[in-house]
Amino acid sequence: MSFETAQKPSWFARLAHPGQFLAWTRPLLIPLALLSAGLFAAGMYLAMFASPEDYQMGDTVRIMYIHVPNAWLSQFVYALMAVSAIGSLVWRHPMADVSMKAAAPLGAVFTALALYTGALWGRPTWGTFWEWDGRMTSTLVLLLIYLGIIALWRAFEDPLRGGRVVAVFTLLGALNIPIIKFSVDWWNTLHQPASVFRPDGPRMPASILTPLLVMTLAFTVLFLTLHLASMRTEIRRRRAVSLERQRAAAQP
């Protein structure tokens, strides 16, 4: 696949062609990483020192500052994977497969962290590490779906294949996630008719909202950095695999 570069490649080519993609994303990594670190520093300061304790929960509200970003990311990353899946199936965009593959492990980690922080938040606040409430249960199911997607990627012996198949499954999952959420909530109201008060409700003063937003932004930028880095490695890995095949084919 040769290309004439008398003029600068179109924006689509820069996005789609692996070599081009590697070239223009290279200068982005360090600034993104620095931005993420800076946001985390600011967020941690706000979360630990510059925000008050909640009048009901005390200091444990500080766990919310790392729980909510992870919960948000668990859904955001899946949405990104779903969009990439559409890109893969509808437009056969070359970067779509790479984006999906890179996002899956990251999403799984953030989902697991959401569960971890949620459990640690629940224990002092409501007495148990795990309670089958609607939100946490849905997050657990989401983690299972992520892990299934990762397992599916690994099941393809050829690392270059499988992208569109995984895309179909990812979209099936995307369609099912609202159904799962609804059914889990239904199941929950069935078995716990007395509603359990969940404190991450609407009323949030600025003193609590600000650290929350900063931390959420910090985590999101962190994800974008890691995702970009993983995509670049995946592109290189695919290049290595094709070269190895080329070499193997050339041997008599």
Binding site: L120, P124, T233, R237
Partner: protein
């Protein structure tokens, strides 16, 4: 250190766990990248050229 209240251990465990996990994640990503770069370097040294580069 600021006073984190009676449930400090949970707060610390939460933050610690998250940062350790992120640290491990970053480390794994970096290690993976190094491994792939080594692989590419080895292929380059063996003289395998991309078809497009050969022109």
């Amino acid at each position: 250190m600021i006073d984190l209240g009676p449930h400090a251990v949970f707060i610390v465990a939460a933050y610690l766990g998250v940062f350790v996990a992120i640290g491990v994640l970053i480390a794994l990503i970096v290690l993976d990248r190094r491994r792939v770069e080594k692989r590419l370097a080895r292929l380059e040294a063996q003289g395998v050229r991309r078809r497009s580069a050969a022109g």
